[in-house]
């Protein structure tokens, strides 16, 4: 039985929260690419983010992946159509799954979206939520990523910053929203702290779980004739006609490869915090930037 090769890409380590959620649902070969030499994407322009994201996507495609997960809200929000155009494998972003989950849990049909400056400016979540009939109140929270990377995930300063940001978000339309969408892969590490800051009835959702569900569905439903052609192993008539999902067996091991464009040591150190497990080997990649 051949496992699918799933490429997961983020500007840094945040996308590991998405990788973790997918890997818990699917045995597969996982190739994770963190563009750490050029992070953060969240403060940069759409043109620059698109250029970086396409470089990363093409790198992973060259590693014979069957499916690409853009586990970065900024890259999804600003460049998903361009990434799809530039690659030949199916591509899954995190915005639509996050919006779909918000729509599933919201009773008041309104959500607060918190994210990086670039994701908020793109209004990608507002548009996706509107498609599901939800109104969106958007708020950029540029200090959350550096606070998480400083390790202050449960710190009084972070709580104070969260209160300031969320007060501003809720001032837009008090008592309307009943869902808080964490539209940045760093933010799930702040969930316990945010739970204390937002009013009791508000639900907190992030894209990791719902993205994992979409990936599973895509691998199960998609005919593998398109996916299969990039496999290194010889393609038999039988394997070409078997859906990828049918080839997955929980008994088989997941394997992980990690690539980073900046220091592999720093990647390892931060990765353990996001992935919840030790990362032993990371390969350095120079995309020429």
């Amino acid at each position: 039985m051949t496992l699918a090769r799933i490429g997961v890409f983020d500007s840094g380590v945040g996308g590991l929260t998405v990788l973790k959620a997918i890997a818990e649902q699917l045995p597969a070969h996982y190739l994770y690419f963190g563009d750490t030499a050029r992070l953060p994407y969240g403060t940069k322009s759409a043109e620059t983010v698109a250029r970086y994201a396409i470089g990363a996507a093409r790198f992973l495609e060259a590693q014979n992946i069957d499916l690409l997960v853009v586990a970065c809200n900024t890259a999804t929000a600003l460049a998903l159509p361009l990434i799809k155009e530039a690659t030949h494998v199916p591509v899954v972003g995190v915005v639509e799954p996050g919006a779909a989950m918000a729509a599933e849990v919201s009773k008041k049909r309104a959500a607060i979206v918190i994210a990086t400056e670039a994701t908020i400016s793109s209004h990608a979540y507002r548009d996706a939520l509107q498609q599901h009939g939800l109104k969106a109140y958007e708020k950029a929270c540029p200090l959350f990523v550096p606070l998480v990377e400083e390790g202050w995930t449960d710190h009084p300063v972070t709580e104070q910053v969260a209160r300031i940001y969320l007060d501003e978000a809720m001032a837009q339309e008090p008592d309307q929203a009943d869902v808080l969408v964490l539209a940045c892969t760093h933010y799930p590490l702040l969930t316990p702290l945010l739970r204390r800051v937002v009013p009791e009835p508000m639900q907190i959702v992030d894209s990791a779980e719902s993205t994992a569900g979409v990936v599973r569905k895509m691998l199960g439903e998609k005919s593998d004739c398109d996916l299969e052609r990039r496999e290194v192993a010889p393609v038999t008539e039988r394997s070409r006609r078997t859906p990828i999902a049918a080839k997955l067996s929980p008994a088989e091991h997941r394997t992980f490869r990690f690539y980073a464009t900046d220091s592999v040591e720093k990647f390892k150190r931060l990765a353990a915090r996001f992935l919840g497990r030790q990362v032993d080997h990371v390969e350095h990649v120079d995309l020429g930037g």
Copy 2:
């Protein structure tokens, strides 16, 4: 009379504090390069910072500059020798001038150095201060740059963060240091707030003023035969033998050109805050990263 062409380079807009200090002392043609598509440098590895810095230096060199100012503490700390090797014009960094100024004002012969993670890890300031007979207590302050960029230069959260960082710095050796070195070009915007946080007798120094002094001295003392060869204007026998400083007249206008690797709109918006004047035109440069 021909004005000198001075290239000033930083990862972003922070180096504009250095540009401002130099321009106040010297009439010249200023070419400022902000590598905004790849900022921040302060969280990245020495190899990556060196690669980026050399790309920026070579870009400015191709614009016929007479002198290059590396107005970025991280790039100076991690890559000054490599930048000097890769270019053919005189190069001035900000670490040595900052250390020299600290040595000038310190009576207790000890200083606290605050900077980005990368600058602190390099121990470049510790080594430079030691050369001047000063002991250094170093402290990385990774949240200061995002706080300044959020515009929270006089905010209670920033004051709380500053108290935490400086308490940790001073706990290393209480009452020994009498100088606080702001070893990051963003930090001068925090000077009024830091003044409230550090004990009264402590002096606060940054590299901008002292770097400007070094630049003036270099242009005055250096024979221009080496500088002159890159000038676009025809080189006459007379101009070749006149030191650059002698060619500078306060009556002549300074001119400024700005280059950025990310969005020029964002650069303009942030630049006004650092430079204290409107920036009307910024050219976008793609270094292929």
